[in-house]
């Protein structure tokens, strides 16, 4: 195999990429999917109360508020902006700390604490905000919590917010756009324009041609997945190291699938229609995770489960190697089987190409 030919085809595809809608979409997919899914599904769970603070002085309450993990804090620099945010529902509540608040509190003068709630905020969030503020000012006033907690957690299920449950969907979508769709389309388009015929009478072999398409799709899938991790807050090197094998194997899985479809179809319309149909099978595990009401064992019947489940376990739940090694073994086997299938089908369709 001539690497020069592979590199030439890849370079050509990247150069033409900016004129190819699907290529551009694949590049932008981490951003598009992260944004869209957060938009669509984010509203399902207004998980945490959001509080805006306007600090007229430099109060100790603000850093304490930021430390508390049970809510989301945002700072505002003027009252109008804070009130707008509260009125529009961007913030569930708004707190105005007047000048000298800390001093008054220290002197036991019971200073006023202005608290505005958004009419759109949930009652439970209002309660949580008021209680949390009470806790924090008591702490500032030196009042010691008069009880001790003994926490018990029941069950094995994952404590996942809806946003967490969307994350596997996003990863899968990004891997599939680059690895699966872009690879297959790259092959099919050249068959449609008959440029593959021109390549076939050059020194370029079918193997070099398919390798170039697959390699480009693979690289794009891996890069896109990394970007997606960052966009979704998965940046810990330890976690990334643990999920790297799944990311790499997931990309290979997608690319092998792309090769199979690319050599099997001669028109992009047919490919597009089939891809839409296979999406249901590919994304089924993500849907099962998204809706915990569906029995989770169903997800295990689909190959892509072994890509997204480990990523979920490690990146969102802090899982260890022992939690995911079983999934890795299964994924290796599935990917290897798919790779062999891709090779056989590509070989069989060599003359058609």
């Amino acid at each position: 195999m001539r690497l020069q030919a592979v590199a030439a085809i890849m370079a050509k595809d990247v150069k033409l990429g900016s004129r190819n809608t699907i290529f551009v979409f694949a590049v932008l997919s981490p951003f598009v999917y992260t944004f869209l899914m957060s938009l669509i599904f984010g509203g399902l769970a207004k998980d945490q109360p959001k509080v805006g603070f306007l600090d007229m002085d430099v109060s100790r309450l603000v850093p304490l508020a930021k430390e508390f993990e049970g809510w989301v804090v945002r700072m505002y620099s003027d009252e109008k902006a804070l009130l707008n945010a509260v009125e529009s529902g961007t913030m569930d509540g708004g707190v105005k700390l007047v000048y000298g608040f800390d001093e008054s509190l220290a002197k036991g003068q019971s200073p006023e604490l202005e608290l505005k709630f958004s009419g759109r905020s949930y009652a439970s969030h209002r309660l949580a905000i008021k209680n949390t503020l009470s806790k924090l000012v008591r702490e500032m006033a030196g009042q010691e919590v008069p009880i001790e907690f003994n926490n018990t957690v029941l069950g094995d299920e994952m404590a996942l917010s809806m946003k967490d449950r969307i994350t596997p969907f996003i990863f899968l979508a990004v891997i599939m756009v680059s690895g699966y769709f872009l690879t297959s389309l790259g092959i099919v388009e050249e068959r449609e324009t008959r440029t593959v015929t021109a390549l076939s009478v050059s020194p370029t072999t079918v193997t070099e041609f398919i390798t170039a398409k697959a390699l480009l799709g693979y690289l794009m899938a891996v890069i896109a997945t990394l970007v997606t991790f960052v966009l979704n807050g998965v940046t810990s090197p330890a976690y990334l190291a643990l999920i790297m094998p799944f990311m790499l194997l997931g990309g290979a899985f997608a690319v092998f699938l792309g090769v199979i479809l690319g050599v099997s179809f001669s028109s992009s319309t047919e490919l597009y229609g089939t891809a839409k149909g296979t999406n249901i099978l590919l994304f089924a595990p993500a849907l099962v995770i998204l809706f915990p009401g569906i029995p989770q064992w169903i997800g295990k019947l689909f190959p892509t489960y072994y890509i997204i489940n480990p990523i979920l376990k490690v990146s969102l739940l802090g899982g260890k190697w022992s939690d995911v090694q079983g999934d890795l073994v299964i994924l290796v086997m599935i990917t290897a089987a798919l790779g062999v299938t891709a090779l056989v089908i590509a070989n069989r369709n060599k003359t058609k190409l």
């Binding site: 006023e112 957690v153 029941l154 229609g273």
Partner: protein, 348 residues
């Protein structure tokens, strides 16, 4: 005209891609709507086992719309309630809790959580218990809260996400027709079939009229079907049907505009995505009013989304949405004409 209409319908249904996307959308949106919660859970439900303090906790629950307290006699019943999801958390207090609290002995509070409750939510619930214990211990709050509700108070009247999203679903359904119709137009351009049609007695006006009828009919039928399947048509059928129809014609006009510059199906993708994103922005602002801005009113789908929101979520009628309907009709004519002019030029 009849022949052109029949041909367009037939070609649309022969296209497997169009069929799949259409069926998918018409089936999945109502299914998704049905699966999503119909109510907003804004009350925190806590299970309590606190011998001797049942009355106090009952009063606490009664005094707040945000809190619901359920008392349990035994630990196992409480744990079961937590595990089943009947309560967000369980609080277990020993019989001498109050005495120990007043004596400053820091009594233990058993908090029972389900593993599905996120850590942040557990922190919030623990904070509630802390505050309660301060109150029981007689420790006065060192601040005076001055609270106020800004805007209409929707506590107890919150609109569920699935209903806030109705304008978005319906806009999506209407815009899906963009794919089918633009595919048909592009294919006719690619194969040259359109030129074969234009050298027959059929005029370009008839060709466009046929496509408009086909596109608008299909989109209207799909939109209506989704409304029926979601059980929403009965809210105000005339207002909804008129809005759907104007939206359908708008989608058809955009299909013409999108097909004109595209050389093939794949290159139309980029135009389609742009139009989709632009059209979906206004309905998204119904869900997230924080991102709304006066600029959004230049997007045609603003009037669609506003109509759907007003009729479906606010119970308003034809009189209140009349202005928007008029604007939509004008926009329909403008977009359709623009689409026809641009596409006609490409046919030449």
């Amino acid at each position: 005209m009849a022949a052109l209409i029949a041909k367009d319908f037939s070609e649309l249904f022969k296209n497997r891609l169009s069929l799949v996307v259409t069926v998918l959308v018409v089936v999945m949106i109502p299914t998704y709507y049905a699966l999503m919660p119909s109510e907003v859970e804004e009350t925190l439900v806590l299970g309590v086992r606190a011998p001797g303090l049942e009355e106090a906790f009952a009063q606490l629950g009664a005094s707040s719309t945000a809190l619901q307290i359920r008392s349990y006699n035994g630990t196992s019943a409480l744990r079961e309630a937590v595990q089943d999801g009947g309560v967000a958390a369980g609080i277990e207090l020993a019989p001498d809790f109050v005495q120990r609290l007043l004596a400053g002995a820091k009594p233990e509070v058993n908090m029972i959580f389900s593993s599905v409750v996120p850590r942040e939510a557990r922190d919030s619930i623990s904070t509630l218990m802390e505050e309660l214990s301060f109150i029981l211990a007689g420790q006065k709050l060192p601040v005076d809260f001055e609270t106020e509700i800004i805007g209409e108070d929707l506590a107890g009247k919150q609109v569920a996400f699935r209903d806030q999203a109705k304008p978005m679903w319906l806009t999506l359904v209407l815009m899906v027709e963009l794919i089918s119709l633009s595919y048909l137009i592009i294919e006719e351009k690619q194969t040259g079939a359109i030129h074969a049609i234009l050298v027959t007695p059929a005029t370009s006006t008839q060709v466009f009229a046929a496509k408009t009828i086909v596109g608008a009919t299909l989109a209207s039928v799909e939109g209506t079907l989704v409304l029926v399947l979601m059980g929403q048509l009965g809210t105000n059928a005339p207002a909804l049907l008129l809005t759907v129809l104007t939206g359908a014609v708008l989608a058809t006009g955009f299909a013409f505009l999108v097909s004109a510059p595209a050389k093939d199906i794949m290159s139309s993708f980029s135009w389609l995505i742009l139009v989709y994103i632009a059209m979906l922005i206004p309905p998204v602002t119904v869900i997230y009013p924080a991102v709304s801005s006066p600029v959004i009113k230049i997007l045609p789908s603003y009037y669609l989304a506003d109509n759907f929101n007003k009729v479906l979520n606010q119970g308003l009628g034809l009189r209140e949405i009349g202005g928007n309907l008029l604007i939509l009709v004008v926009l329909d004519v403008v977009v359709l004409l623009a689409g026809v002019i641009v596409l006609r030029r490409k046919y030449r």
